[in-house]
Symmetry: C2
Subunit: 242 residues, 2 copies
DNA sequence: TTCAAAACATGACATGGATTATATTCTTTT
DNA sequence: AAAAGAATATAATCCATGTCATGTTTTGAA
C-alpha cells in the first residue's frame, strides 16, 4: 500500500499451487517436470492499468496468467483502440512470438490486480517439445480462441450494434458471470469505453443501447456493476439461431 | 469430363511427394513416419463449388490441403454469408474438431479444383503427440492465423470500406500475387460477391470502390482477373502506419 | 472535504454504406 | 447460336450509427 504498490513485485508461487493450474496448459504435467518449470519462470504482479507489454515491443518469452483479467488491445493508425481479446487465469499470452521474430502486434494491460508468470522463449519451446500434453493443450486453447475470433468477425459483418451488445453480455456472463439469486452479476470491471471497443462501436452508441436494455428489463446497473436479469430475452436480442 | 466430373475422386498421392509438403505441418517428418501417414490418409479431389463439409456437420478428422484454394464461410441467422478465411496448399482445416465435440462452425467450399487429404481424428492425434515438430508447426500456423484474424477484427472496428478493400488487395497480392512485368496479377478466382463478404460489405459498395481504384490507376481488370498496378498508392489508401 | 478529472449520459446532426431498383455484360446450358 | 441465368455495374434513397456538443455523475487525488 506504500510507494511499492505501483511497481510490479515478484511473488514466490510454484506451478503446482497455481490457482489456475487445472485450466492451464501445464495441467497434465507431473511433479518433476512441473518443478522444473517453477524454477525457470518469473512470477510478477501487475496492478490495474499496468502493461505487460506494448505494441511494437520485442518479445522474449511466454506469459502465463495465474490470476486476473488482462485485455489485449490494438491501436490503429488513427489512435483508436480495440480490445481484441480478454485473457484470464489459465490463459497464455505471447505464443505467436515463440515462432516468428515479429514484435508484439498488440498491447497487454492488466484490468485489475493480476498475477502473471513469465517463461523464457527457449526454455518453454523445450517444454512444449518434450511434453505432448502441453502441446495439445496449447493447440486446444488456440483452436478455441480462433473459433471465438471467427465468431466475432461474422458478428461484425452481419450484426448490428444491439445484437453485438447482447452477444457481448452473454459472453461476459459465460466467462465472468456469478449467479446471485434471480440475477447474474458480471464479475468484471469494465468501463463503457472498454465495452464499446470490444464490439467495435462508439461509447455513446453503446451507452444508448445499454439504456435501452435496462428499460427493457434485461439489465440492471448498480454503480459500475452489471446484472443480467433476463437471459432468455437477451438471447432473443442477440439473434442467434444456429 | 463425364458424369464423374462432379463427384469427388480418390487420388493416389503420398505425403512425401505432396506439392505442399514444404509448407505443410508434416514438413519436418522423415520417411518411416511419413509413410505411416500416407497409409492412414484418404486423398480426394474437389471440383470448384463442392463442399468439404457444411456448417453443423459432425467432424471425424483433419483435412490437409494439398493444392487449391478453399474458402471457409459462416452463414448468420439472416442467411448472410461471410468468408472468414481462405486456406491453400499446406494449410489444415478442422483442427478445432480434434479437441471439442462441437460440430463444424463453418462451411468449407472449394474455390477451384483442389486436392485434399483427410486424416482420421484418433490417428492424427497420435501423430501430433509422437512428433513434436508436427505439434510445433500446428501451433505456429494457428498463431499466425490468430494474428491475421485479430488484424481483421481491428480493421473492421477502425477502418472504412475503402481502407479494408486496399488491405484485402494487399493481402491477396501477398498470398496469391504473381509479378507480370510492371504489374502483379492476383492468381485467384474471386467473384465481387466473395470479395465483399471477405471484408464485410455489400457487393454494390465493393464494386463502387473497385471502380474508384481503377479510376485512380491502382488497379486494372481484364475480365475477372485483377492486376495491381500501383502498390505504393494502394499502401497509402490502406492507411497502415505501424 | 474539496477539487479536478474521468466516466457516464443524452440530444442534435451528419454521413458512410446498406438497400432497392434497373441495366448491362459475361457465362453456361440447351 | 440462342436463351437463360449469373455476375457486374451504377444511380437514388434511407437509415443505423458515428460525431459533436453539453451536462451530470462518479471517482480518485490532494
Amino acid at each position: 500500500m506504500l510507494y511499492l504498490s505501483h511497481m510490479k513485485k515478484e511473488l514466490p508461487v510454484d506451478c503446482e499451487h497455481c490457482p489456475s493450474k487445472s485450466s492451464g496448459v501445464f495441467c497434465d504435467l507431473k511433479m518433476p517436470e512441473l518443478e522444473n518449470i517453477t524454477h525457470h519462470k518469473v512470477s510478477n504482479t501487475y496492478k490495474k492499468g499496468q502493461t505487460l507489454f506494448v505494441q511494437g515491443n520485442h518479445p522474449y518469452g511466454l506469459f502465463c496468467i495465474s490470476k486476473g483479467n488482462i485485455k489485449l488491445t490494438k491501436v490503429g493508425p488513427d489512435g483508436k483502440e480495440s480490445i481484441v481479446r480478454v485473457v484470464t487465469g489459465g490463459d497464455i499470452l505471447g505464443h505467436r512470438s515463440l515462432f516468428t521474430e515479429d514484435n508484439y502486434s498488440g498491447t497487454a494491460t492488466a484490468m485489475e490486480d493480476t498475477e502473471v508468470c513469465f517463461i523464457d522463449k527457449k526454455f518453454i519451446i523445450g517444454v512444449i517439445q518434450n511434453n505432448p500434453s502441453v502441446a495439445m493443450n496449447i493447440i486446444n486453447k488456440l483452436s478455441r480462441d480462433m473459433g471465438i475470433a471467427e465468431n466475432k468477425l461474422t458478428s461484425l459483418h452481419q450484426k448490428n450494434v444491439r445484437e453485438r451488445l447482447a452477444e457481448l453480455l452473454l459472453a461476459l456472463k459465460a466467462s465472468h458471470g456469478v449467479r446471485e439469486g434471480q440475477r447474474v452479476r458480471i464479475d468484471m470491471k469494465l468501463t463503457r469505453e472498454e465495452m464499446a471497443t470490444m464490439i467495435g462501436t462508439a461509447n455513446e452508441t453503446l451507452i444508448r443501447f445499454m439504456t435501452e436494455f435496462k428499460e427493457a428489463g434485461i439489465l440492471e446497473q448498480e454503480g459500475k456493476v452489471i446484472y443480467i436479469t433476463n437471459e432468455e430475452e437477451l438471447l432473443n436480442w442477440a439473434n442467434i439461431n444456429y
